[in-house]
């Protein structure tokens, strides 16, 4: 391994770290005896779902935990010095200077009323002992390095004057500018779009390698891990269950949790009739942690010992360590094949359920003078068709208008111009199921609401229908008496699906239905949607930025960019042979959970940010970021044209 230096390679050693939160219900052990090491210049990914303790662990290293969290035990040795024992004052000298941090939300980590220059220059002066002018020059140099255009001018901007991607770059510049030896990055790209994420990840990788800094990268995205990490630590219920080199983790994982997690992700070649392997159950409630191995309840190979003793990390093949009593994990049991899905035969009638013609939606800005009013052109002439029983996937980055199309379809917004025809009823499954429920209603009343509003049948008939719906989405009638806050995320999304199905809709619009869910329950929801589609023959409009999932579930895909459809066609064709340069860039930006495939890909990320939808370019909307744009693209707007069999693209140079 070339990245390890010969002399004293260990930079950070964590031993038996324990973090506790004192809550009303008692003490919750969020981090339960975590030990690992990071070598100099090494990038270690910490993977886990929400509640696995990964963020609490990272915060504990620098004692940045918010009340009521506290470090209850263990050692954090940075070059042999125990940070856990340092005084607050001594630790402050380490924070920023030796260990830099980058958090998920750059807006809340930057002070909104302070110019970037003030937030950057003073730490540099303090930590590197430079005079003000030199520190400012240094800050500008770092802003330039992270790809901020016009850094000398932008350094005096306020955070709100920058886009999310720009702010995250500033955060990274701040973290790197004091030349720390370790960077802790907690989900630094989760709030960003895939193309921006690709830029940031590539930049972090280059800059840390250049500065020789080590990095601890916390994420739930296994694709990013494959692209980025040297080593991986998988956390579950506050403990590391598997740790080792990235290739070994992806090629031959040893812990059942890692194994099942990797199987649940739709692979590049997954076909629609195979159900995604799913992990049963939900992550454990950390307030009532089970005896023995925490993963036992969801594990296919659990033995009686798992219920009694907590397994420790032990050495396995391929330099891995795993905490499991069963040698080989799931491989110890014969692989149970997921039952094949009965795919409904393609309906002969080509009846169209949804037809959208030249749909336009502009949001008028407010201004005192009419001439100052500017319209946000959210949707700009979109035409789409969904045939009966088909699934249309809409992909694109935030601000591309995909959610506005969904809201227009459901009649939540009125179109500025254009037509929408829907045969039957459209219903919606929202991104965050929790906020789509009235918290004061029971599940029964939530599912019953569409029926009650429409005066569907009498009370006993409705009660029967509600019970039928709840079992259809894989829950128990006993769940009906609960409130939304008493269900898990996956259960809530099932309830949302039941509610959407109540009135027998002809089309269900699902806007990012899995992005608010834990990774291990996403596959359950995707399987459920695909099963329902096969059983009920209803059409779906599936909106997501997760291209692998969209490809798996959709028959056709529409790629949107700045309010326009730039490519449209059968899912496999669009994914395997993209015609529009934007589609290609989008697919390239999506990390694939396989380090070997990742290494072989051209990872040249798309440059620049999305133009503002307030003033769109005259020619092709994508021209400003397109690698193959010419003068023609900047002056003439390409229209969606049919190429090949049934694939359409809006590009002058599509072949």
């Amino acid at each position: 391994m070339t990245y390890q230096s010969e002399l004293a390679p260990t930079l950070l050693e964590v031993r038996g770290l324990r973090t506790e939160f004192d809550t009303r219900a008692g003490t919750v052990t969020a981090v339960d005896g975590v030990s690992f090491t990071i070598d100099k210049g090494e990038r270690v990914a910490i993977v886990g779902e929400s509640g696995s303790g990964k963020s609490a662990m990272a915060m504990s290293l620098l004692r940045l935990l918010a009340h009521p969290g506290r470090v209850a035990g263990g050692q954090v040795l940075l070059d042999g010095r125990d940070l856990a024992r340092l005084s607050e004052r001594a630790l402050n000298a380490i924070r920023g200077r030796e260990v830099g941090t980058v958090f998920q939300d750059p807006m809340s980590s930057l002070d909104p009323v302070m110019k970037i220059s003030r937030q950057m220059v003073e730490p540099i002066m303090r930590n590197l002992g430079l005079p003000r002018e030199a520190a400012r020059a240094e800050a500008i140099r770092w802003l330039d390095k992270v790809g901020i255009p016009d850094p000398a001018g932008r350094i005096d901007a306020y955070p709100f004057e920058m886009s999310g991607g720009m702010r995250q770059r500033v955060m990274i510049a701040m973290a790197l500018s004091c030349r720390p030896r370790l960077i802790i990055a907690d989900e630094p790209t989760t709030a960003l779009d895939v193309t921006i994420q690709a830029q940031i990840v590539a930049m972090l990788k280059d800059l840390t390698a250049e500065a020789g800094a080590a990095m601890m990268f916390i994420t739930h995205d296994l694709g990013l891990v494959a692209r980025f990490a040297h080593k991986v630590a998988v956390m579950y219920a506050g403990r590391i269950v598997e740790f080792g080199p990235v290739d070994a983790i992806f090629a031959a994982p040893q812990h059942p949790y890692t194994q099942s997690l990797l199987r649940t992700i739709p692979s590049v070649g997954a076909t629609k009739d195979t159900r995604l392997p799913q992990i049963p159950g939900i992550p454990p409630d950390m307030r009532h942690k089970p005896e023995g191995c925490a993963f036992r309840a969801r594990c296919a190979v659990a033995v009686s010992r798992c219920a009694v003793d907590v397994p420790d990390l032990t050495a396995r093949t391929g330099d891995l360590v795993a905490a499991c009593w069963v040698e080989g994990g799931l491989r110890a049991a014969p692989k149970a094949l997921e039952p094949r899905r009965r795919v409904a035969a393609p309906l002969d009638d080509t009846r169209v359920t949804v037809e959208i013609n030249n749909l336009v939606k502009h949001f008028e800005g407010r201004a005192f003078l009419p001439r100052n009013r500017r319209a946000v052109r959210a949707v700009n002439g979109v035409s789409l068709r969904v045939r009966k029983g088909d699934t249309l996937g809409i992909v694109g980055e935030s601000g591309c208008g995909k959610s506005t199309v969904a809201r227009l379809l459901l009649g939540l917004e009125q179109p500025t111009s254009g037509e929408i025809f829907i045969e039957g009823l459209a219903q919606m499954v929202f991104q965050d199921p929790f906020s789509s429920f009235n918290p004061k209603m029971t599940i029964a009343r939530i599912i019953d609401e569409p029926l009650a509003v429409q005066n569907w049948g009498d009370r006993p008939a409705r009660a029967e229908r509600v019970e039928q719906l709840i079992t259809q989405v894989g829950l128990e009638p006993a769940h009906l008496a609960r409130y939304p806050s008493q269900l898990s995320g996956g259960q809530r999304q099932r309830v949302a699906i039941a509610r959407a199905l109540a009135l027998n809709p002809s089309v269900v619009v699902a806007d990012e239905p899995t992005s608010a869910l834990d990774v291990s329950v996403r596959a359950q929801i995707i399987n459920l949607l695909a099963d329902l589609k096969a059983e009920l023959g209803i059409s779906f409009v599936f909106i997501s930025h997760d291209l692998l999932t969209v490809r798996y579930i959709s028959d056709r895909i529409a790629v949107m960019y700045l309010g326009e459809v730039v490519e449209y066609g059968p899912a496999e064709d669009v994914f395997d042979r993209p015609m529009h340069p934007y589609t290609r860039a989008l697919i390239d930006a999506v990390p694939i959970p396989d380090p070997r495939l990742e290494a072989a890909r051209s990872n040249a990320p798309l440059r620049g940010d999305l133009p503002s939808p307030l003033d769109l370019p005259v020619g092709c909307v994508f021209a400003s970021r397109c690698p193959m744009a010419t003068e023609l693209c900047r002056t003439d707007k390409p229209v969606l044209k049919k190429y090949r069999h049934s694939q359409e693209a809006a590009c002058h140079y599509a072949k």
């Binding site: 459901l410 965050d432 004061k440 029971t442 009343r445 019953d448 009370r459 009638p477 009906l480």
Partner: protein
């Protein structure tokens, strides 16, 4: 509130859906417990005052004027030989009536007007909020004094005057809650099934605003009790000989040197009530809004 739930759930429903107050949490809250320890005895004494071996509040006994507290007269007697405890308890009854009425009026009016203004926006919103802003420009005690000056003294005018000053603030609070609820996804979900505006307001908006409004209501009732006492003290509220905590204190004020108990003891009672009501609202807020917890 209408209750259109499915029967299977109705059997198992743990609590009233509209309020859905965390009853257990409330009863376990320290501040609520302290408030209850003060309020429950006061309420019980007030309710059972006629059964107590006390003189009637208006009965005078000129042979026993200005007597210090004793077993027979626990709060002593005033300059006409009336029993101060009996008068205080009668005054507490008036106070609680004022507090409860004002809070109820402010709650109902605030909820109705605030919901309409917030939900419909446009002209309704502008009209309601303009009137609210005008009312809010006056200090509430001054507004009450002015109104009493116009409509006259007595229980009903006092309640009306204090409520008039409170309603605008309740409209504001309700409207701001409605505005933030209106853009929540569950309202969108109701719109996708073509729920009527009335349905959305009664099933989705109002139930989610009740808890903070009740908290505000308990503060308003404490405030109303103090304003009533101030008005009566100034001679603008409940007129003697009818007792009210305010006019009892005013009566005794002249004799603070010789008979401290006439003013002081009812004063302590009013302090305790206001204190308990604030504690109650504080405790309720903690239970209803988990973020308020430390």
């Amino acid at each position: 509130m209408a209750n259109e739930s499915v029967d299977t759930a109705a059997a198992a429903r743990p609590r009233l859906p509209v309020l859905a107050l965390p009853t257990e949490g409330l009863l376990a809250n320290r501040k609520v417990q302290v408030a209850a320890m003060i309020l429950v005895p006061i309420l019980a004494l007030t309710a059972f005052a006629p059964l107590l071996p006390l003189q009637a509040p208006l009965e005078t006994n000129l042979r026993a004027i200005m007597q210090a507290p004793s077993i027979e007269h626990p709060f002593g007697t005033d300059r006409m030989g009336r029993d101060v405890l009996a008068r205080t308890l009668a005054g507490v009854k008036v106070s609680l009536l004022v507090g409860f009425s004002v809070a109820s009026i402010a709650l109902v009016a605030g909820m109705v007007l605030g919901t309409l203004a917030g939900f419909f926006g446009g002209v309704i919103d502008r009209v309601v909020m303009t009137v609210v802003d005008i009312f809010l420009a006056f200090p509430s005690l001054l507004l009450a004094i002015g109104l009493v000056a116009i409509v006259g003294t007595g229980l009903i005018p006092v309640i009306t005057a204090i409520a008039m000053a409170d309603v605008p603030r309740f409209i504001r609070l309700q409207r701001s809650q409605v505005l933030s609820l209106r853009s929540r996804p569950f309202i969108d979900a109701a719109r996708t099934v073509r729920a009527s505006k009335g349905w959305m307001m009664t099933r989705h908006i109002i139930p989610n605003t009740v808890a903070p409004m009740l908290v505000a209501g308990s503060i308003a009732s404490a405030n109303a009790i103090l304003v009533e006492a101030s008005l009566s003290f100034l001679g603008l509220g409940i007129m003697p000989p009818a007792p009210s905590l305010g006019n009892i204190i005013r009566d005794g004020q002249t004799y603070l040197q010789e008979a401290w108990w006439i003013s002081t003891l009812p004063g302590i009672v009013i302090l305790l009530i206001a204190f308990a009501l604030h504690f109650l609202s504080d405790g309720a807020r903690e239970e209803l809004d988990p973020r308020a917890r430390k």
